[in-house]
Symmetry: C2
Subunit: 403 residues, 2 copies
């Protein structure tokens, strides 16, 4: 292992914003400031799009106050991109790196971002250009391999849990059938988080549908009817990535115009179509008075002032860890290991190979999903609760004894 | 004026839930506990529906801890109703009041609820039955007359402002056109609150459309295009009650099935149809890459753990004031007078006649709306900001000087 080069560094934020991706950015900045090996720290404006265009800001000149404000702000403070760089794109990035003597590359994002770091690192090695490339995990979907959980998930989980806590109380006060559509294209973690705030036996969500468990319309309607008959109301959390039993997502089936991004994904967020479709099916097929649907949309990834303190702390630590690892290693992805749970919740950070994370997706493990495939288990609650940093408690009086 | 009777009291929560309607309930309970004139305090389960069915819980036996938990919980803790009582319905309620020796009636709600209190009080007087009827204001729409502002608005305004702060940062990070649909059937206050979190000159929302200012599709599209050409992005807040220039709401125009409630209102919330329709119009008519729409739905009235401290305090004080007023007066509605603003924000509570509030609706005054009819003025910000209890600050680095 050669010693860490004295050179410039670049950091970028990729893919969908989260509530704590800026905390990771600040972690990179404050740790980079401690290492004289890192001379300039460039912020790539709009991620790879900024790298390829040579569009950078100077991140070493920010005041401590600004850094704290950035760390507490949702969304990606230096802009993001959904560009998926091919080899030619990466080659152009490498040219910019060479021109600016950038030899540290920190990339905060999901599995696509890990892959970008992997490709650029491989190309640099082939060109005999010394480059240290590190991926810092980020995703509200919580779907990265190796790491116990992903920065960004805890804050989004807190939002979804608080939303369902309030919405369930709203549904108690004004009973009916309520369908809430939650982000998560392939992994059900965030939709499952809707159950974290349940405090009473009959608290909703009463049904939780995730992409890992395909469900037919008949089964869905039967489940809803069953709860509605029993409780006189029903609150349902549905992942935007929910699939029919033939494996095709319902969103794809109902999309009149399939708008796709550069990764070939159908647009799921930023529309209420799926939730309205499901509400329409319930209205048409069940004898229920009041059927409503909400789609949480971008609020669940970018709401101001609602960070999970645990998530924010860990996101920042992951940014710091990437810089520390880069002093000793040539590449890697930062991962979280849980060393204690419940009251003793604690984590350690470690390095894993980029190839272990790149382009791979984690699903909800079977032990987190109930046998019927329409709810979560206590094991999931135990796993996810600490990541929210704690949830508010609530009270409902309508089921108190009558006088 | 006869002295306050020694008798029982009833309290109910009516109409759409809010984030602080339970604080008003707790205000009634704790003040009632101080007055020996009030013997039992009955909570009407599901508002007038509980009163007419003789369905009550005992609110005098709740512990202090439970009361604090209730006060902090969103939604209506004893259930609510959208029933609009006619004379016959009110006559049946009066029979239940007589049977239970209920001579204090506290009703937390909007202008319909004030009217219900008014009708029942008038009927009681005609029947020579001593009854003291008080209305406690509540609405996220902020559309009641006489009072400076309504409990429930500040908390919903905080939610909408934080949502737009995050969503605007999201839109900066990943530019495009974003449309956010906000509650408010007739009054634009809550949609206008979307502008409260703006901190930088080019922060969104860049356009705000409210029911008070009808707008044609051409004007709407022209406005959006203008901002998009200038900034490369555009964030729009639209009230669910937005009207075309012929005075018909866009929601009504596009509704295939016009589901109406017992007040004859078309369903506006609990569907993403309006936002999706507007996004579709933008996609079809403008040359823009990324067009998304979110509908905030029930989250803006029932989100757990996000009260405005000012709103919660005032809501509670309004509940207390109703009971105090009932010791000296036979009827009334509690209203808020602002006695200081900005840093010196302060209020006093006073009593107004039920008839001044019943069935009347306040709109956004002209001085709160910009000349173009697509934004808010500084006067609105000064009016509404204190009610949120303060908003988080954020930072965005993407427009920093390039290196």
């Amino acid at each position: 292992m050669s010693s860490a080069p004295k050179a410039n560094a670049v950091v970028g934020q990729s893919g969908g914003p989260t509530g704590v991706i800026n905390a990771s950015l600040v972690g990179v900045i404050e740790e980079a400031n401690k290492h004289p090996e890192i001379q300039n720290l460039y912020g790539a404006v709009h991620a790879v799009a900024g790298m390829v265009k040579d569009d950078f800001i100077d991140l070493k000149k920010l005041s401590a106050d600004t850094l704290e404000l950035v760390a507490a702000s949702p969304s990606s403070a230096i802009g993001t991109s959904r560009d998926k760089p091919d080899e030619e794109y990466c080659a152009r990035i490498l040219e910019v790196f060479k021109k600016r003597n950038i030899r540290y590359f920190f990339y905060i994002g999901g599995n696509d971002s890990a892959n970008t770091a992997y490709i650029i690192n491989t190309m640099a090695a082939a060109a005999d250009y010394e480059l240290r490339a590190f991926h810092i995990p980020k995703t509200v979907d919580n779907d990265l391999l190796v790491t116990d959980h992903c920065p960004g998930f805890g804050t989004a989980a807190k939002f979804v849990a608080c939303a369902l806590m309030g919405d369930d109380l709203d549904n108690r006060a004004m009973p009916g059938i309520k369908i809430d559509c939650v982000m998560g294209r392939h992994a059900g973690f965030l939709t499952a988080a809707s159950a974290l705030g349940r405090q009473r036996d009959d608290d909703g969500p009463h049904l939780v549908y995730i992409p890992e468990r395909p469900v037919s319309m008949d089964k869905f309607l039967g489940d809803v009817e069953g709860v509605y008959k029993k409780l006189g109301r029903c609150v349902v959390a549905v992942s935007e990535g929910i699939c029919d039993t033939d494996g095709v997502t319902w969103a794809e089936k109902l999309a009149e115009v399939k708008e796709t991004d550069s990764h070939g994904n159908v647009q799921l967020s930023g529309t209420g179509a799926l939730a309205d479709f499901l509400a329409g099916q319930v209205k048409s097929n069940l004898d229920a008075k009041r059927v409503r649907a909400d789609t949480f949309g971008y609020l669940q990834r970018s709401f101001a002032g609602l960070q999970s303190c645990v998530d924010a702390r860990e996101a920042r630590a992951c940014g710091q860890a990437a810089v520390k690892f880069a002093m000793d290693e040539v590449s890697g992805s930062v991962a979280i290991k849980r060393t204690g749970n419940g009251k003793d919740y604690a984590v350690e950070l470690f390095r894993t190979e980029l190839g272990n994370v790149a382009e791979k997706t984690k699903s909800m493990p079977a032990e987190f999903i109930n046998a019927e495939g329409n709810g979560v288990t206590d094991a999931f609650i135990e796993y996810a609760m600490p990541l929210t940093g704690g949830l508010p408690r609530t009270s409902y009086l309508g089921n108190y004894p009558r006088i």
